[in-house]
């Protein structure tokens, strides 16, 4: 596995780390789903919840 001495220079926007992008998008999706689950299912789903003295509901 010898490295070839040939180096290719590319333009700033030609660099295209699509795998990294996919990972970051996946990470964002996981974060969003986890947040929705934590807040709406685990927190709001486990009522009764402490409410303010002037509830609007």
């Amino acid at each position: 596995m010898s490295r070839s001495g040939v180096a290719r220079t590319i333009d700033h926007d030609e660099f295209d780390p699509i795998g990294t992008l996919a990972l970051v998008v996946l990470y964002f999706v996981v974060l969003t789903v986890m947040w929705l689950f934590t807040y709406f299912v685990e927190f709001l789903g486990h009522g009764p919840t402490v409410v303010g003295l002037l509830p609007l509901g």
Binding site: H12, D13, F15, P17, T20, L21, V24, V25, F28, L31, T32, W35, Y39, F40, F43, L44, H46, G47, P48, T49, V50, V51, G52, L53, L54, P55, L56, G57
Partner: protein, 290 residues
């Protein structure tokens, strides 16, 4: 500075996430009214709890239509009152304090969870929509019996909820031929008028009486029975209203018995000792009994 397109993408994504978090929390707070546990209520020193008008008598109190206040005192290793009984479809404000060390006030499975700190009063308002039974546990280690410290919270259906208290005044014994006067005092702790039925059973006689008790007041129900109808002997009586029940025994004696019982109660020392062989003072003097 040149920023790569992908980098712009995830920078924007991060901002959207942060804004999303803030929006959901704001929605919860403004839209649903979710709040933090407050300590706006005045504190109470543990040694003043017994004389504090809020906590001297831990209780559920109606303060408005569908609005209740519950004063909870936690101590090693119980909660007072226990059970806490509130109606469904109500808004309940708990005021929680501790008499000794730091305790927890948690209703497992719900978001009701507060510390009970001596000297401080935690204030939390909760809406109960559905009837149900919950437990209450202490979640702060408070001593060797911490694991046994539990209470219960019962949300009863609205139509079943009452704060009726019953007190009965009945004679213990009457002479044969006299009338038995039994008075039941039914008090209503709610703000609204409460209608109910009082059932009185004396011996084999049963009477039923409908009563209407105004909010925060009481009514008396009197029942008079001729002791001749019952005959001599002991007769059990029971008075019940809503979920309250009181019972006792009335002795109907003939007139001679009654007259005799009077001197016996004011008898001389010799007489009373003879009548009470289990007298501990005599036992300690080493007097043996057969």
């Amino acid at each position: 500075m040149r920023i790569h397109t992908y980098e712009k993408l995830w920078l924007a994504g991060s901002f959207v996430l942060i804004v999303g978090f803030i929006v959901t929390v704001t929605y919860g707070s403004v839209g649903l009214g979710i709040d933090m546990i407050g300590e706006e209520a005045d504190g109470v020193s543990p040694d003043e709890i017994s004389s504090d008008e809020r906590f001297s008598e831990p209780r559920v109190e109606q303060v408005g239509e569908n609005e209740y206040e519950v004063y909870v005192v936690a101590m090693t290793f119980i909660f007072q009152p226990d059970p806490i009984e509130v109606p469904a479809n109500s808004e309940v404000t708990f005021y929680v304090t501790s008499r000794d060390v730091i305790h927890g006030f948690e209703v497992p499975g719900t978001n009701i969870n507060s510390m009970a700190i001596p000297g401080q009063v935690a204030e939390l308002t909760v809406e109960f929509d559905e009837p149900g039974t919950y437990g209450v546990i202490c979640n702060e280690y408070c001593g060797p019996q911490h694991h046994t410290m539990e209470g219960s919270l019962v949300v009863t259906p609205e139509w079943e909820f009452s704060q009726t208290e019953l007190e009965v005044d009945a004679p213990e014994s009457v002479a044969q031929g006299d009338e038995i006067d039994l008075t039941a005092t039914v008090s209503n702790g709610l703000l609204e008028t409460h209608e109910s039925t009082v059932n009185v059973t004396i011996g084999s006689q049963t009477t039923e009486q409908s009563i209407t008790v105004d909010g925060e007041s009481s009514e008396n129900v009197s029942v008079t029975v001729d002791s001749d109808e019952l005959g001599p002997g002991e007769h059990d009586w029971t008075v019940s209203v809503d979920d309250q029940e009181e019972s006792g025994t009335i002795t109907v004696g003939n007139e001679t018995d009654t007259t005799e019982s009077v001197p016996a109660s004011v008898g001389t020392e010799t007489v009373s000792v003879t009548m009470n062989p289990a007298d501990p003072t005599r036992a300690s003097r080493g007097v043996g009994y057969p």
